[in-house]
């Protein structure tokens, strides 16, 4: 079982061990191994992003995670837009062997996580120096020095109150987004007995100097284990059992105390049929929570992914004709600020919130809002380079897009788009299926494929006569809008993504000619 002491993380073994304080660099020129969790379907976007943004190497995509190596500081890492959470990778190994013997398995798991205290001290001190102490507040700048003495006294008071058997669990719900098959687990609960150990430890105050605070920190150091397991392992052991076992072992080994709400350190353990992974989150909040967005609508990671498909270049005009809270426009304008963004919506309340979002993000001069209907856009034909939209659907929204409205919506989108421009849409599975009725399958030429209102798809209009269907299958699914119905729109990719509770599809189209010329 390969242990991964810190000194091996560098590119060459001769490299000086990172734990020596003098050599740790604030600008982190030193490569580190990381992984991110990602909503299902966003892994390819994230893989592309870490390569492009961070020059990452050794990029490895699995379901729900992307592993990579990069020489990047916290400021750059924080800019990742298609990731849920970011972790320092401590261990990645082959999956744990599953036996019927719970005790044996727990022993295996513990030996995965529990090391000599020195191992953890090394990791923590490097992690702190490189990435800053997370602190109890989330907007504390990375550069603030940690003051052990002051904090530990506070912590002692707060922590001992908390340790009085609170029933409240901190639920890490963001991690559950879109991770199929995984059981989302709340951090382990400690028993009464364990709590007594904790309060004993936390009575020690530290007189730590800045020089070598680690020994003193250890005494009042708090942690939490977040454990997720799925697959064969989950049939024998629950995440809670595993988390608890690891927690107890770490406490015994390192003398830390558990703090579910506000730990100094969170240890993330993920066990499934493909690998066993141990990591430390670098930031308290998921990257998917944007500090520049006041009212969240569509998941920001999905919005960013859609914008990344649209090929926004400098000086481009970008339209979201059903912008809602403006999430797509905000993500796009932040990432590609050299373009002009327009948003339209028919709802006053949505526009008001969108306006609030735009002001909070400081993007007033980049995003223009209109109250207008997507079915009758007050915009000149062929005036936009790209149209990006999340077409409302599902019970969550008050206005559910009827399949009947789709042709009208698409017609206007196509009209305002210039030739060569792109359309990127987010559609529900339902809408995709219903749109099937608008199109014909490849190879069939009969014009009556689309009924008039009576078919299950209920489209209102008959298709145009010219017919090369160009339904296009990508690895994720089929294109449902062939160029038959909208002669000038050519499908250019379909990407299935998870929106947490539901699944959806990102469809990309390109306008190859003006509608009349097809």
């Amino acid at each position: 079982r390969p242990a991964l002491p810190l000194r091996c993380r560098g590119a060459a073994p001769e490299k000086a061990p990172s734990r020596r304080p003098g050599l740790a660099k604030m600008s982190a020129a030193e490569p580190g191994r990381f992984f991110c969790t990602a909503g299902r379907g966003l892994e390819p976007f994230l893989a592309r992003e870490v390569r492009a943004r961070l020059g990452a190497t050794e990029v490895d995509c699995v379901s729900g995670k992307v592993f990579f190596r990069a020489a990047a500081g916290p400021g750059e890492l924080r800019k990742l837009r298609s990731a849920e959470r970011l972790f320092l990778l401590l261990k990645k190994q082959s999956p744990l062997p599953v036996s019927g013997n719970k005790g044996k398995m727990l022993h295996e798991i513990k030996s995965l996580v529990v090391e000599e205290p020195k191992y953890w001290l090394d990791i923590i001190s490097v992690w702190r120096k490189l990435y800053g102490h997370k602190g109890k507040e989330d907007n504390v700048s990375q550069e603030n020095p940690w003051a052990p003495k002051r904090k530990s006294e506070e912590e002692t008071n707060i922590a001992s109150k908390r340790q009085k058997m609170e029933q409240v669990r901190a639920v890490v719900s963001e991690e559950c987004q879109g991770e199929a098959g995984d059981r989302c687990v709340v951090p382990e609960r400690m028993s009464d007995q364990e709590c007594q150990i904790e309060s004993k430890n936390s009575e020690h105050t530290s007189k730590g100097s800045g020089e070598n605070p680690t020994a003193n920190e250890q005494l009042s150091f708090s942690f939490r284990v977040s454990c997720r397991c799925s697959g064969a392992i989950a049939k024998i052991l629950t995440s809670q059992e595993i988390g608890r076992a690891i927690g107890i072992a770490l406490m015994k080994q390192c003398g830390w105390r558990a703090d579910l709400r506000n730990p100094d350190l969170e240890i993330f353990v993920h066990l499934n049929d493909f690998h066993s992974v141990v990591g430390i989150p670098l930031f308290r909040l998921p990257l998917a929570n944007r500090e520049y967005i006041k009212t969240a609508g569509l998941r920001s990671t999905v919005a960013w992914a859609m914008a990344s498909l649209a090929e926004i270049s400098a000086g481009a005009l970008v339209l979201d004709p059903m912008c809602g809270l403006g999430t797509i426009l905000l993500e796009a304008a932040k990432e590609w600020p050299d373009a002009c963004y327009w948003g339209a919506d028919i709802s006053d309340s949505q526009l008001e919130s969108a306006d609030g979002n735009i002001r909070t993000a400081g993007l007033m001069d980049k995003i223009e809002l209109l109250k207008a209907s997507v079915k009758a856009l007050p915009l000149p034909s062929e005036s936009f380079d790209t149209v990006i939209s999340d077409i409302p659907f599902g019970k969550k929204f008050k206005i559910t897009t009827d399949a009947q409205l789709l042709p009208d919506i698409l017609r206007e989108m196509e009209r305002v788009l210039r030739v060569g421009g792109t359309i990127v849409l987010l559609l529900s599975q339902d809408l995709c299926k219903r749109m099937d009725g608008l199109t014909k399958c490849a190879g069939s030429d009969s014009p009556e494929a689309t009924a008039d209102g009576n078919s299950e798809a209920a489209p209102a209009k008959a298709p145009s006569v010219d017919g090369n269907s160009s339904s296009w299958a990508s690895g994720f699914g089929e294109s449902f809008l062939s160029s038959r119905r909208f002669g000038s729109l050519v499908p250019d990719g379909v990407f299935g993504v998870s929106l947490g509770k539901t699944d959806a599809f990102i469809h990309k189209y390109r306008k190859i000619s003006a509608a009349g010329n097809w």
Binding site: D355, L370, K371
Partner: protein
């Protein structure tokens, strides 16, 4: 027309490109003034589209559409 009637002439003067003062005022009106309450008017039909809290309402009524 935008509440600055005294500052802008109704039409650009013949050599407006060279008129710094004029250009500065036009720039200000076009790029620095945000209309919070007011209206847009279609030059052809005269139809007014009210602006509320900075957002123009361009919805057409049933008959207009």
């Amino acid at each position: 027309k935008l509440g600055h009637p005294s500052e802008l002439p109704p039409e650009p003067a013949p050599n407006y490109e060279g008129d710094e003062e004029f250009l500065r005022r036009v720039h200000h009106v076009l790029l620095e003034v945000e209309v919070l309450e007011g209206a847009l008017q279609c030059p052809d039909s005269g139809r007014r589209f009210p602006i509320t809290k900075g957002v123009p309402n361009m919805l057409l009524s049933e008959d207009e559409a």
